[in-house]
Subunit: 366 residues, 2 copies
């Protein structure tokens, strides 16, 4: 095999597939990037068996062939090569010679036949959204998934297609994030749970804007994202996702409209007095049109008043400050509305259009 690339093009392609290389594995071949030019295109592939990424690299083929190279060493070398033409050449001993200007690297490769190819999936049903929207919707919900694997379904996100709307849901037992997006065109109803890891990695390689589309294909056990010269294949999480509709309510006793940034600022200041080990709640005391935020810990106490636009009853309620901040950071609106029922019922942060709903359970403060 003999291939030629511009260093920047190769570095970009390697960086994309690198996201699917597992950091720890018992199968050394999975630590490799497959370079395959046998089809006449130069395809780079990485696959950790849950998540696979393949991209077509810009470059020219002098002699077709394929090889698997250790992802870490290969990517480090490509990144640090000078900005010139990079040539990758292999011999019968599976050694790759990488040259660029006067620099020449010899690194041992592995037999490409050992590499686990991405499974073929059916490309019948799909939805299409912009790269920008997919990246945003992931950012606005992914913080809400559970970090550990005690409940596998909680480590993923529900993507539900119904009536040409995409609903994305994540939850961790203390809070729920919901985003609704309108879809263009017709597509049948779908309901899948996508691993959080897939969404995290894909959001890092979605560099396009509002006009660059991602096509998402639905197969029984897999989801396939296709955009630009790249495909991302992810295994789905098995099982029935939580029924969240029964947890949502539009009733409320208190509604507060406030400036998102300044509220975020005051919660952020309050958390200065919280050491990681102790889980002190912030207390919101809403009385007339004043929201008084208080915290009291071993390190000291803090309170801060904000003028708000309140309708309904006065209320005093406690929250994990991190949960409030995560939700407020995920929202772009300048003003947000908080809805309360009582000190033991969940608080909702939602907009009138129904494009987002954040539900947060309160902390018992008595």
């Amino acid at each position: 095999m003999k291939l030629h690339f511009q260093q920047a093009d190769l570095a970009e392609s390697v960086n994309i597939v690198l996201k699917a290389v597992p950091s720890k594995t018992t199968m050394p071949i999975l630590e490799c990037i497959l370079i395959d030019s046998t089809s006449g295109e130069i395809r780079l592939t990485a696959n950790d068996m849950e998540l696979g990424i393949e991209t077509v690299a810009e470059g020219s083929i002098e002699e077709r062939g394929k090889i698997a190279l250790d992802a870490k060493i290969f990517s480090d070398i490509v990144r640090k090569l000078p900005n010139g033409i990079v040539t990758i050449e292999t011999d019968q001993n599976q050694t790759a010679v990488i040259t660029c200007e006067k620099a020449k690297f010899d690194i041992p490769g592995k037999d490409a036949e050992e590499f686990a190819a991405l499974p073929e999936i059916e490309k019948n049903e799909y939805i299409e959204i912009s790269q920008f929207s997919l990246r945003e919707v992931i950012r606005q919900t992914l913080f809400c998934i559970a970090p550990n694997e005690n409940n596998k379904l909680m480590t993923g996100e529900l993507f539900e297609v119904r009536n040409n709307m995409l609903k994305v849901v994540s939850l961790d037992g203390h809070r729920i994030a919901i985003r609704n997006l309108e879809l263009r065109g017709d597509c049948s109803d779908k309901k899948v749970v996508i691993p959080g890891k897939t969404l995290n990695e894909i959001s890092k390689i979605l560099s396009g804007g509002m006009d660059d589309m991602v096509r998402i294909y639905f197969d029984t056990n897999y989801l396939l994202f296709v955009f630009g010269r790249t495909i991302v294949l992810s295994r789905l999480i098995d099982g029935e996702y939580f029924r969240i509709d029964q947890m949502l309510s539009s009733d409320y006793e208190t509604k507060v409209v406030l400036n998102r940034q300044s509220f975020l600022g005051s919660i952020d200041r309050a958390t200065l007095l919280v050491r990681e080990s102790d889980k002190m709640p912030v207390i919101l005391q809403i009385c007339d049109d004043v929201l008084n935020l208080q915290i009291n810990t071993m390190l000291g106490s803090m309170d801060e008043e904000t003028i708000v636009d309140k309708t309904g009853k006065d209320i005093t309620i406690g929250f994990n400050p991190k949960f409030l901040m995560d939700a407020l950071r995920a929202i772009d609106d300048e003003e947000v509305s908080l809805y309360f029922i009582n000190a033991k019922a969940p608080c909702f942060i939602r907009d009138d259009k129904g494009s987002y709903i954040y539900l947060i359970l309160p902390v018992n403060i008595r």
Copy 2:
């Protein structure tokens, strides 16, 4: 006590003295910043007994007084307050109330009398250099000190004043860095060893340029740096510094002139094949006007040729690549000259003016 500050002014002053707050100590009072306005100026002080920093903060005094506040909490609060007027007020119970706009913090303080005041030193003899030069000379030499305390003198830098020249020397047993600076004005000869920690911290707070001067006062056991509204007091390291003159030689058998950036780039690429655990040398093979840099490790091999301007004999010599890179990064010149005697003798990188000398011991490659 009652004081008022602009948030940005207070944050800047706190950030300066914070550099002298020890990260670990058995004396809780040393974890504090002293705020003392009894003299009519607002002085902030931190002191870890080796290094003390005092700065005069911009602000107004409504009622004089002093208090010691936990540095971490106080600095976190000040940094996160909104950009307005900050008021610090204390009561008889040593509690500080910090208010800014609608935010109000109550934090417990400590008796200012417990705080270890900075020792008074004699201000007779001093030198003066620009903040820029001091920061640069520290950057260009500090990487060469020994990281551990096996030999206390190696953890500091020699500052030697002789004939109106300042010579700064650091070494770690494998390499030596020397910088020479001309001093303005007259001052008597001095020879002190300054702890690396002091130099590291001071270089972070020296923000001034070529026209902002630092005055350095010499006392028996201390050195005092005075610049702007800040003083930094450092204990010196006791003992006779190493005699380096006998290690320096201007004889050579091979001289190589090369482009610093491209040489640095090729050593950087070579180190991609070095895992941290194994200490593989890079080998420089200098033959006619070609320098061939080679490395050969378990991960693969690399070589890269550079055209150089050589005088004298051919030579093959091995180095720890990190030592070469550290020295090359500390130099600003576009072209550098390397001087060799033989494969077992130190290599020198130096300029003709004598403003810098870097000595690096080679690694045995046979």
